[in-house]
Subunit: 334 residues, 3 copies
């Protein structure tokens, strides 16, 4: 049974303007299109504005501009998505985490585990690991020699922290994340490769979220660093000695080569490739499927993702580009 | 010892036309190039036609057009690859799956597991999970709170089903697949991010195959949906609230951003990036390494993957393209 | 306590030319920028040359050309990065691996495990698996039916070797690597797909390193092959029946479609997409984010990664390219 909240209570609690009956109650969140009576919805993306007129939600969170078009009760805020995030967290609280160590977990004698922490089934905690207060570690994780986890962090399941990795407070790591595997470092010796030991570590700040199957390599010498508040989606690859500045968000499948430094509050789209040894300024936006092959010194939006068209037209576009470059009489371009 | 099959038996069983001795027998499959006596091969891709003349296979499955060039016995079918798939399944049957629960598995009291199911070593089944008839779950998986698996589905090893995820019948999931991790949803609050709870689930139909290390996020509010017969290769990322239509096949490393709806019977190549909130029609083909940044309303083939050329030529092509866009006297293009 | 090494000893042991006091000692490695007294640094990438003047390292490994600018003791070698790799391995030795089987591991009766091998917590070794001398397998791995691991190989943690996979000597596999999952093979049957059994295996040579969450599919009929000395970074996808030639190195997030043959000593950048059924010569370089859509017959460097620019300029570039292809009066290009 979901708890119920009156609109009046939500307006007061979150500082929202209410247009409608304060006694109406809601007990769940819903999209505009699929809302039923008793649910709260929101409008934050103009793509969905046309769904407003026919919604069956009891109340819609939206901006003052959209309010006149709302056929039901309205909770008004300049940032309805942020207000939604907070109300959804209130209405769908995390299940309580019961402290204790599952009997099937394998805990080394030297590990330090706070008594308020929760360690899941078949999780391995090695010597010298330090697990902070109220940490939740789900099933199948490994916290290897000397790795540290700050208080209130969550490893949902099957996360690996390699030896010595350090994680801050209130982090969330999803299944399959690998933190601290060796960076890709080899020296050529004639026609073959000699491994370069990767002796740095990974230092992750507070309030960082790391998606499923994302990998962050340990530093070659110095540490790889992920600063406070960084949000990484699934299947991102972070090379050795990368630094990701505070509050930067990166979408899925992006790869960042070694030793590149990314500024604060950047927004990097999905499947972006970023070359190594670069420096990217604060407040840079890179749109999806772009290649960043040189440093970016100024805030702004950068792109090189080529939009797809009908294959026949695309072949013509490629042929034209190639023909331009083949012209013999062309001078002035290296 | 592999069982033997006579060509006559295969022809009758699969409705194929035989040219050759029906008493000849085969006991394994092989490529045209590496076939030895006693093996069955096939020709379905014209790239390999030149290998037909010298094959040592006992029999080759091929089309009527290729039959005259076959130096050995021939089994003729308009779709030799499909016939091959069926004969290979007959000749290389899956090893039998022994029902029962490995003693090292960790099973919650409230889980419902069919007595014909097989649960592997060190697998975790949480409260409220439901495991159907003849389901096979290999080692190291987690089936979390309330997740459901339809009959005859297979989780090969180390697959994670997050809480509440629902899987249909006869599905096959490979190692490292993560189904139901949180979608990537954050609301900006000044310069930092507030997590948007991801309260939807993932609904997967029947006969779906999901490759190694592929990730499918749970919905933000409504569910992420993968319809019947969908085939997903390795390392694919499926964002929250994506819908993938029935019988669509997607090759490895492709990423699909949130809330995009893909039609039925589409074929999406490898390393394709698909932006969010789009709609893609039925029967669309997208070739490898393309970016889909706008909705596709008509069936057909779409591309934007740029073929590589010698690096020196490529630099000229890029410089030319840039120079075109830099021209001051150019009007008519935004 | 790190062991100390005198510069004289290092010069003799590794055949380096020393300029400075042979009695000086070092006990750790460091970057030029962060070195403290007692540490050894190196200069191998010209990007970091400007850091040489202010380094606090006790000694710097560098080439004869850079030596005159070195403010501290110098160890001189034509390939300072290679010399660094060897000295770092001496100064930061791997922790000793204690032979034995963790009591929480699940070992099938028929498995053959060398007495010098080390099997970690919660690792599963199935029937018929063969584990060579001094092999180290960390926590959470599965070595499935009949898989073989050559002597001195290391599976760091949570690696899956599917049935029958064969791994050579001195290999290193990182967390989340999946070797031998089914290739992506389906035959169309009207509007739906029939699975093609994947009956080949994966054959991996000696001295191969495989990064975190990299996947290598088993062959459809013949084996997928990774030759000696190949180095694969994280999150690489290798399709069925691919052959990767000896000493080829591939950076992260690259995907290789089925049946493609890559030569020896190639260097493939990150996030490269390689189509299927191609052949790539020895000694080919492919730069990051390129698409290889046709066979490459000659050594050399190949590219198609488009460098990002300001988004506004990029939109103009795309529009121009498209307009070129739209011209009605254009002939000669298909």
């Amino acid at each position: 049974m979901q708890p119920e909240f009156s609109l009046g209570e939500l307006a007061v609690r979150f500082g929202l303007t209410l247009r409608g009956e304060p006694e109406l109650t809601v007990s769940s969140v819903a999209t505009l299109a699929h809302a039923a009576s008793g649910s709260l919805s929101f409008l934050a993306n103009s793509r969905y504005r046309r769904q407003l007129a026919s919604t069956r939600a009891t109340v819609v969170l939206l901006s003052a501009d959209d309010e006149p078009h709302c056929p039901v009760a309205a909770l008004i805020d300049p940032n309805p998505y942020l207000a939604y995030a907070r109300i959804a967290a209130l209405m769908h609280p995390e299940p309580p985490k019961v402290p204790g160590i599952d009997p099937s977990a394998v805990i080394a004698r030297g590990a330090q585990i706070a008594s308020s922490a929760s360690i899941g089934a078949l999780t391995v905690i090695e010597e010298g690991a330090q697990i902070g207060e109220r940490v939740f570690i789900g099933p199948g994780c490994t916290v290897q020699k000397g790795a540290r986890i700050g208080s209130d962090s969550v490893l949902l399941c099957r996360v690996d922290l390699y030896p010595g990795v350090s994680l801050g407070e209130r982090c969330i790591l999803h299944a399959g994340a690998v933190i601290g595997a060796d960076g890709f470092g080899f020296a050529l010796n004639g026609g073959s490769w000699v491994k370069v030991p990767q002796v740095g570590s990974v230092l992750i700040g507070d309030d960082v979220e790391i998606g499923a199957n994302t990998t962050i390599d340990r530093g070659a010498i110095d540490d790889t660093v992920v600063e406070n508040g960084v949000k990484l989606d699934n299947q991102i690859q972070v090379g050795h000695n990368v630094v990701i500045g505070a509050h930067t968000a990166i979408a899925g499948c992006t790869g960042i080569s070694g030793s590149t430094i990314i500024g604060q509050r950047c927004m990097i789209g999905g499947m972006v490739g970023i070359a190594g040894h670069l420096s990217i300024a604060d407040d840079v936006v890179v749109t999806g499927c772009s290649l960043v092959s040189a440093s970016i010194k100024k805030p702004g939006s950068y792109s090189s993702g080529m939009p797809s068209v009908e294959s026949r037209l695309w072949r013509r576009m490629v042929a034209h580009l190639r023909r331009l470059a083949d012209r013999r009489d062309d001078v002035g371009v290296r």
